[in-house]
Symmetry: C2
């Protein structure tokens, strides 16, 4: 009977009014009288009308949609950040399109193109491990699409970001191991062109320095921090001519696979080697021994990032660019770091 895609024109025809009146009625404009408003709304409901956002957004040149690009949604940190982003967006009337770069630069490129083609009002990004330059973000800027980095960011001038203090967190993690009595601490780092890993590593070095401990390039293992990397790193550590008794890993995934590989090789954790991870993945509390790690409050970070982005969208004239928000990260002390209880 009625067409399956109802438009305001259908409603207008049926009720003998103009489509502009229908549009205004459905948008609760004061220019339409209550009476006709009610007639129109009732009829729209009766016909199961659902606005075509493509048309609406095209005309308004505003989609009320945010794009989010993350390496992968299956990581606890990212899915909780997304939960935070969605919470804020939902409350402020924005939709969210989620894209995964799968740690690949090319896909990150494609993601941005898709988001631009869909005319999102702004973009939230945590970059892939392959991302070194930022030309694709310059494309966003040229199109005046605001974007905010969270966690994994690039050091681009005049760009906003929501971060934790990776230097401090790296320092805290390392110092914690030192206080627990570790004397030879290895560090698992990610790709060094990423600010977060660079900063965590600097924090590691600073802690060593403060406690007059020798720093050795040999004890820094840079990788993509995947499961296999933790295993590989451990295999190298075992072969070293001296004893390593502490590991600070820049993520939990590598920390956990290292922990397991050490156990397989007969090492006792934390007695022989203490371990501190990074991110507080759900698995960290459950593994045995439970993993001491840095808690990154993903939900909060997501919330704050979305708030910042939306404020930039709303006040596009004002100078909200280049705001850096630093969220508190904290050490979660568990069993894997209780190395030397001699105090």
């Amino acid at each position: 009977m009625s067409p399956d895609k109802i438009t305001i024109h259908d409603i207008a025809r049926i009720l003998n009014v103009d489509s502009s009146t229908v549009s205004r009625a459905l948008n609760d404009s004061p220019r339409v009288t209550e009476k006709t408003k009610n007639r129109i709304i009732a009829k729209a409901h009766e016909l199961g009308y659902q606005r075509n956002d493509l048309a609406s957004n095209l005309r308004k040149n505003k989609t009320n949609t945010l794009g989010v690009i993350v390496p992968r949604i299956s990581r606890h940190f990212f899915s909780s950040a997304i939960a935070g982003i969605e919470e804020t967006s939902y409350n402020l009337g924005y939709n969210v399109i989620i894209c995964q770069s799968l740690e690949q630069l090319e896909r990150e490129h494609n993601n941005i193109n898709t988001l631009v083609a869909n005319r999102v009002d702004g973009v939230l990004v945590s970059i892939s491990m392959e991302t070194k330059n930022y030309e694709h973000f310059e494309g966003l800027r040229k199109r005046k699409i605001p974007f905010v980095f969270f966690d994994r960011h690039l050091d681009i001038p005049d760009t906003s970001s929501v971060l934790i203090d990776d230097f401090q967190a790296g320092f805290d993690a390392t110092e914690h191991l030192i206080i627990k009595g570790c004397e030879k601490i290895a560090h698992f780092s990610g790709p060094m062109h990423l600010e977060i890993y660079k900063n965590r590593c600097e924090g590691y070095k600073a802690a060593l320095l403060k406690h007059d401990m020798e720093f050795s390039e040999e004890l820094i293992f840079s990788s993509r921090l995947m499961e296999q990397d933790g295993v590989d790193n451990v295999n190298k550590i075992i072969e070293l001519p001296y004893k390593v008794d502490g590991i600070f890993s820049a993520n939990d995934v590598a920390a956990i696979s290292a922990l397991q590989q050490l156990k397989r090789n007969g090492y006792k954790i934390p007695e022989d080697i203490a371990i501190v991870g990074f991110s507080n993945e759900g698995i960290s509390a459950v593994i045995e021994p439970s993993l001491t790690t840095i808690n990154q409050p993903g939900f909060d970070i997501g919330k704050r990032a979305a708030e910042l982005l939306i404020s930039q969208i709303t006040n596009s004239n004002k100078n909200f660019i280049n705001e850096k928000i630093v969220i508190q990260a904290s050490l979660v002390e568990r069993d894997s770091s209780q190395h030397n209880m001699a105090f």
Copy 2:
């Protein structure tokens, strides 16, 4: 200098051709000569032109976008299903919009409205725990938007779905416990109005029946299978006047929290109580003892579901409705079920 949002009209004006020619050139139509095509493409590139998909999709009445609704993306099963969906979609030229219902019916409703408003070409759904009726899906049907359920489905006539054989999996899990020597097996079930939990429970019953074991309503614990539920269920089990020596949980989350709660109470797993979970979350392999569980191949399920949906979109005339695809699920035998090694 140049406006930040370039349109085909800008390009047309600059090159003194018609915008229709620009459109055809950029879409590689044979109606435009190679020479002008090249001029247009070069200029488009130079200006950083990016098609406005809102306009394009509006005109074409096709968005090449699929909507996905899942309870939450942080669950391993759902994020791997999404990975599968994206793989297929990406290859076939579709974008994906991901929505989370957060297990709430109201949000599932909103998700559908958003997807309809954005005129997605089809929808993939795994329903929330609150979802009992299906009026919101009838809305999709009325609008001729095809949809496919995966995993958590409703038993609606003439609807396609991609599932595992929950009955068989429930049977296998339970029989596995029986074979391992368990004599009193409890079952943690989800909301019984969900087909998957109903079927897993039926499988449980069937296995008991086959092995002449008594079935007792008292040993079925129905909940939302969250972390706390596993703890609560264990507390009830401990209080029973007889000994339970096996648990088959319809998801891993409850299985794991139960396992931990049992350990806290001094029970040995699997010697005192054997446990089998469901879904094979990443954590299950890592916990101690490692959890025997049913592996649900999320990636495959996602792939197949997306393929099925896209085939329905493509052949909208043909009768592809009401296709049920059953994916093989299999028991992953680990330590938590090695109860009685007396054979």
